[in-house]
């Protein structure tokens, strides 16, 4: 393996600086006592205190966490079923349409998904009276719908890469399809489901456009609250909020990513039994 040239290293360093300088600048300013960003008023935790004293932010954060947990769980359920349907159920009627519907939300512009879901909720209300008002339920349904696609992709790639001989052996021994999935497949794809849940949860916490379409009066998630504050300009409390969120995510992702990368390194005892599959 040859080392990267000086030019490549320079661009890489520039790229990483491009990615990280703004983040570090915001973190630095979050400890600045002055309100203006061109003045350094000394170190202080003033904006963190103001942040914690702001009930709108706290309420929005709590709503976002609730939506995130419920929608990620729903998406993991639906996405895992969708992955199983596409990878273990053979042919069925409407399979092409189904695989299209599973993949399409990944590339659909958020403005279209948001507008179309809102029109659906409005139409459903005209027709059936449900949903009576828009808020937690409609946001959660919307988030679960687009996150399902991400979970399905992760679960599918795990199912595709998996050695199926264990499942086949269980079937040959008379295991019922449901029991085989419960006892063999699910434990094997559990890490993929966990990764899918985490991705769905993060996507939900960050979602702005779709949420602003399907929300109603009184239901403000954290991104909606952030947007309404920053669109008018720079607000010091948001520096503090950004630092908390970026710090939390960075620690979580770094820990998860590192442990995943380490476990992916091939171990000799695992490499052995896989080989016969390639010969089939």
């Amino acid at each position: 393996m040859r080392r990267p040239s000086g030019f490549l290293c320079t661009v890489l360093a520039f790229g990483l600086a491009f990615l990280y300088v703004p983040i570090f600048v915001v973190i630095t300013y979050s400890f600045n006592d002055a309100r203006l960003i061109n003045v350094w008023g000394g170190l202080s935790l003033r904006w963190y205190r103001e942040l914690l004293r702001s009930p709108e932010i706290i309420d929005a954060a709590l709503l976002s966490l609730e939506v995130g947990v419920v929608s990620a769980t729903l998406a993991t359920l639906l996405g895992t079923l969708a992955g199983l349907a596409l990878n273990r159920m053979g042919r069925f009627r409407g399979r092409t349409l189904f695989s299209g519907m599973v993949a399409a939300p990944l590339v659909m512009p958020e403005v279209i998904t948001g507008l179309s879901l809102l029109l659906l909720f409005v139409g459903l209300k005209e027709l059936t009276g449900w949903p009576h008002s828009r808020g937690f339920t409609t946001i959660t349904i919307a988030h679960a719908t687009f996150s399902t696609a991400y979970v399905a992709v992760i679960v599918q790639s795990r199912l595709g890469a998996m050695d199926q001989s264990l499942e086949e052996a269980a079937m040959d021994l008379g295991g019922r399809p449901f029991a085989v999935v419960r006892d063999i497949t699910l434990p094997l794809i559990a890490p993929a489901m966990a990764a899918g849940w985490l991705l769905a949860f993060t996507l939900s916490l960050d979602e702005f456009v779709i949420t602003s379409f399907v929300t109603g009066a009184g239901a403000t998630t954290l991104p909606l609250e952030i947007f309404s504050r920053v669109r008018l300009g720079i607000t010091p409390e948001i520096n503090a909020l950004a630092t908390l969120i970026i710090g939390g995510v960075a620690i979580g992702v770094a820990a998860a990513g590192w442990s995943m990368l380490r476990s992916r390194q091939p171990r000799p005892e695992q490499a052995g039994p896989r080989e016969p599959q390639a010969l089939r």
């Binding site: 393996m1 040859r2 990267p4 490549l8 661009v11 890489l12 520039f14 790229g15 990483l16 491009f18 990615l19 990280y20 703004p22 983040i23 600048v25 915001v26 960003i37 061109n38 079923l81 349907a85 273990r88 189904f98 299209g100 519907m101 599973v102 993949a103 399409a104 939300p105 590339v107 512009p109 403005v111 279209i112 998904t113 507008l115 179309s116 879901l117 029109l119 659906l120 139409g123 399902t148 595709g160 079937m171 019922r176 449901f178 999935v181 993060t202 916490l205 960050d206 456009v209 952030i226 947007f227 920053v230 300009g233 948001i238 969120i245 970026i246 995510v249 992702v253 590192w258 990368l261």
Partner: protein, 301 residues
């Protein structure tokens, strides 16, 4: 009853549930809404709740009548604003995709050539910002680019400029925002293809007297093409319909179609026109989306 594998009622029920539950969910909450967008794009805006007319009306005198109108589409073509929006979005997304490629390609190449364990660390560093809030990333760029922002402060302290540059709320800021937000989507597919390049190929080419430029042009670039196309589409498609990037970093004259649709809906409350804008946006995107889907299908064995 034997335990041999003849499908029982329970098995059929299980199979039906695995396929049926996500099928029903996606049909109801993903597919049906598009039909509604299409339907409402042919309706008239009215002052009511919801603010659009019914396509099928019924009265004693006339019975059922279909009242579809092409007015919304006619308006899109006649009013310059929308055509300019589509055109500018395509232009901005395309330029930003190229900028992303120019930055992302050398980065991916450098990472692919870095020995482990540094390689994994670098990949993690590129991916990390994607997991944090994109809204807050764009906010960080507002802090960087504003009149009193970091970049202007540095340039003024260095004596390079005497009055602050206006970067925030211009198209330059939008380009920066797009490249920043979608850089990981460019680097990852490029890295995956570049990592698989066989070093022996380079040695063979060099032994046969090829210059570094020739090696790059005739070996690296063609071999990396699938990654370039995949990364390009992963940046271009979301950039084209983006709302928050032009809304936070762009100026009032930064017309991008996602923003036009959003404003048409929220500011003008014209639901039928917003639906028509969405239908056309989907038509614009259908070619790159199909291209991406077929590329994904090819990659699967």
């Amino acid at each position: 009853m034997t335990r041999a594998a003849s499908p029982g009622t329970g098995d059929r029920l299980w199979r039906g549930a695995v396929i049926g539950i996500p099928y029903f969910w996606l049909a109801l909450f993903f597919l049906a809404p598009f039909a509604l967008v299409l339907k409402i794009s042919f309706a008239d805006p009215i002052l009511a709740q919801p603010p659009y007319s019914d396509l099928i009306t019924w009265s004693e005198a006339t019975g059922y009548r279909l009242q579809a109108t092409l007015d919304n589409y006619r308006f899109l073509v006649e009013d310059n604003l929308y055509l300019v929006s589509y055109w500018r979005s395509i232009k901005i997304a395309l330029v930003a995709t190229i900028l992303c490629l120019l930055l992302g390609f050398p980065m991916a190449y450098a990472i692919a050539r870095t020995p482990q364990p540094w390689r994994n660390l670098l990949l993690l560093l590129v991916m990390l910002p994607f997991w944090t809030s994109s809204l807050l990333q764009l906010y960080a760029w507002m802090v960087m680019l504003s009149q009193q922002g970091v970049i202007n402060q540095v340039l003024m302290n260095l004596g390079l400029i005497s009055t602050p540059l206006k970067i925030l709320y211009t198209n330059v800021a939008v380009y920066i925002g797009i490249v920043y937000t979608f850089l990981p989507f460019m680097v990852l597919p490029l890295y995956t293809t570049l990592e698989r390049l066989d070093p022996d190929l380079y040695e063979a080419a060099e032994d046969l007297g090829a210059s570094p430029t020739q090696v790059f042009r005739d070996i690296t670039l063609p071999m990396a093409m699938p990654g370039i196309v995949a990364g390009g589409l992963l940046v271009f498609i979301p950039a084209l319909g983006s709302y928050i990037i032009p809304a936070m970093l762009g100026g009032l004259d930064t017309l991008m179609i996602g923003r036009t649709l959003y404003d048409e809906f929220f500011l003008n409350r014209d639901w039928p026109l917003a639906s028509a804008v969405a239908v056309i946006l989907l038509l614009v995107l259908i070619v790159p989306i199909m291209l991406f889907q077929s590329l994904q299908q090819e990659r699967k064995p």
